[in-house]
């Protein structure tokens, strides 16, 4: 499969547990060569969806494929997909090396791959310690090492930032970027947005098991806006509107401007001899977008 660029396709995925619908009619695509953030509040159905993608949970209806194949039909699953669901899935009596050797055997990888991954994940010093004594960060790294054993083309990570310190998180972002740049498909779920915001190219946002938004992050957030504070706000508004900007009041003496960038706003103010006290370019943060997309109007009251 090496060299393949594999998409993940979910179509109409639905999972019901008794009366509870955990995931409802979820359809989305995850493209190769990009990091896709799978976002939603806790309990939105992210984990259930990821488990359906990998055949651990059987959908009530709908289907999921990876590179056009259902997970269960992949000829070399661990060389195609690496997944981390629970950064704590080890026998406490196994050492890191035991754990990796066992799954290397299952994947048909040579044992030399185990040493490579222990080095890559910075676990070489702890390779022969039993996992019961591992810190949360070490557990996350060992889980990731397990997922990467088969050098998979697709990587699925469920809340990988849990328990990682800022340094570990930054390292992880670097790794995800590199894997995506190699043409792999990377899907990372999170409810903590600022941790993935810096690395995601695309997002899939769900709320209560339903799709809220999907697409490239830049398209969802839209162009930046400029926030300007001026004692001459009224005159400035007239001038900016005349220059084809779209202006709205954002409090006393404050304007939010769309369609013009900050240097242009400053130049126009100077042309009209108007004073500016503050000028800020606002990029919609994913956090705000996420809140907007996922806040339930009924709950927001």
């Amino acid at each position: 499969m090496t060299g393949d660029h594999l998409s993940i396709e979910a179509s109409g995925l639905t999972k019901r547990y008794g009366d509870v619908t955990a995931v409802h009619d979820l359809t989305f695509t995850v493209r190769p060569g990009a990091v896709t953030g799978f976002l939603g509040p806790n309990g939105a159905g992210k984990t259930t969806t990821l488990r359906m993608l990998t055949g651990l949970v059987t959908p009530t209806s709908g289907a999921a494929t990876i590179g056009g194949q259902p997970y269960g039909r992949l000829t070399q699953p661990s060389r195609t997909v690496g997944a981390v669901f629970d950064g704590n899935a080890f026998h406490p009596g196994h050492t890191a090396r035991d754990h990796l050797r066992l799954y290397a055997a299952m994947a048909g990888c040579p044992d030399s791959r185990v040493a490579e991954l222990l080095d890559l994940l910075g676990l070489a010093h702890a390779a022969d310690r039993r996992t019961r004594g591992f810190s949360t960060g070490m557990r996350q790294r060992l889980s990731l090492a397990t997922a990467l054993l088969g050098d998979p083309r697709v990587l699925l990570l469920d809340e990988p930032s849990n328990g990682l310190d800022p340094e570990g998180m930054s390292w992880l972002r670097g790794l995800l970027r590199r894997l995506a740049d190699e043409g792999r498909t990377v899907l990372v779920s999170s409810h903590v947005l600022h941790e993935v915001q810096q690395v995601v190219d695309d997002v899939v946002v769900i709320r209560r098991g339903e799709l809220v938004a999907a697409g490239p992050w830049s398209r969802l957030t839209g162009p930046p806006t400029v926030l300007v504070t001026s004692p001459d706000a009224d005159a400035l508004a007239t001038a900016l509107t005349a220059a084809a900007g779209s202006v709205e009041a954002a409090g006393p003496g404050r304007l939010r401007v769309r369609g013009l960038d900050a240097p242009r706003v400053a130049d126009l103010a100077a042309d009209h001899r108007l004073r500016i006290h503050e000028l800020v370019t606002e990029t919609t943060s994913l956090e705000q977008l996420f809140l907007d997309l996922t806040t339930d109007p009924a709950e927001a009251r």
């Binding site: 651990l56 699953p77 799954y103």
Partner: protein, 264 residues
């Protein structure tokens, strides 16, 4: 083949298998050796001595009552992946679950046989050694003793598989071990005492084991104490067949039940 290698590595990397072998030797060699050394005729109440067929069979048959050990080990092994959350990882690596479950079953059977061989082998070694030291001539010819020991060994492997079946059904490690040990250690002997119900005893795993190993001492003693008729055990061959049936049923459960179950 990869899956079997992986499952063997899974077992060998833990301390459990070493502990299990030690237990087998302690129970087999230790228990039988001790009983033989003391001599059943010196027990309280006294039992027939080693030089009698009955005494010899009893001593070996008592090993049948240690079956809760391999059964508990099987239950532990079958539930370990759920307890530690590695079932998800395993099924990600082997989404065709039947294959990995079959590999696990084969591994458990190997461990069970290993346990049985260690138990029966050490028991045999202890028995013959003590008999030689005490100058007692055993109540049965050596080939018969060895055959009995072999049956006990196989029965232990069956119990380990029964344990894995229970584990696969329950998935909760503590519950599975409690059920297995509780049944073998408490429930079955109690069932033996209840008039009417004890007619079922020959068909239970314990009864089948007793039949296989020709061990009627406990059943007879209990009947005598309760003043009821002796429970008639199945003939050894039928006991073997029944025990095999239990093993197959447990194996089927261990493979089929987790096949499509959601791993959450």
């Amino acid at each position: 083949m990869n899956l079997l290698r992986a499952e063997l590595r899974r077992v060998l990397a833990t301390r459990m298998w070493g502990g299990l072998l030690l237990t087998a030797v302690a129970l087999g060699g230790g228990l039988v050796g001790l009983m033989a050394l003391v001599g059943p005729e010196n027990f309280d109440p006294p039992m027939p001595g080693l030089h009698t067929e009955e005494g010899l069979r009893s001593i070996l048959g008592i090993l049948g009552f240690t079956a809760f050990v391999p059964a508990a080990a099987g239950a532990l092994a079958a539930t370990s992946e759920y307890r530690h959350g590695t079932a998800a990882v395993t099924f990600l690596f082997a989404p065709r679950r039947g294959r990995v479950l079959a590999a696990k079953l084969a591994t458990h059977a190997i461990v069970g046989l290993g346990y049985g061989i260690a138990l029966a082998g050490s028991a045999g070694a202890a028995l013959f050694a003590v008999a030689a030291v005490r100058g007692v001539s055993l109540g049965l010819p050596a080939p018969t003793v060895l055959a009995l020991l072999a049956r006990i060994g196989v029965a232990m492997a069956v119990y380990l598989l029964v344990g894995t079946g229970v584990g696969a059904l329950l998935r909760n490690q503590i519950a599975a071990v409690c059920v297995v040990v509780g049944y073998l250690y408490l429930a079955e002997p109690v069932l033996m005492m209840i008039p009417g119900v004890n007619a079922l005893y020959p068909l239970l795993p314990g009864g089948a084991t007793a039949a296989l190993t020709d061990f009627t001492y406990v059943a007879d003693a209990m009947s005598a104490q309760l003043g009821s008729d002796a429970v008639a055990l199945l003939p050894p061959a039928a006991g073997a067949l029944l025990l095999t049936g239990y093993a197959i049923a447990a194996a089927a459960i261990a493979v089929v039940v987790p096949m499509r179950r959601d791993i959450t």
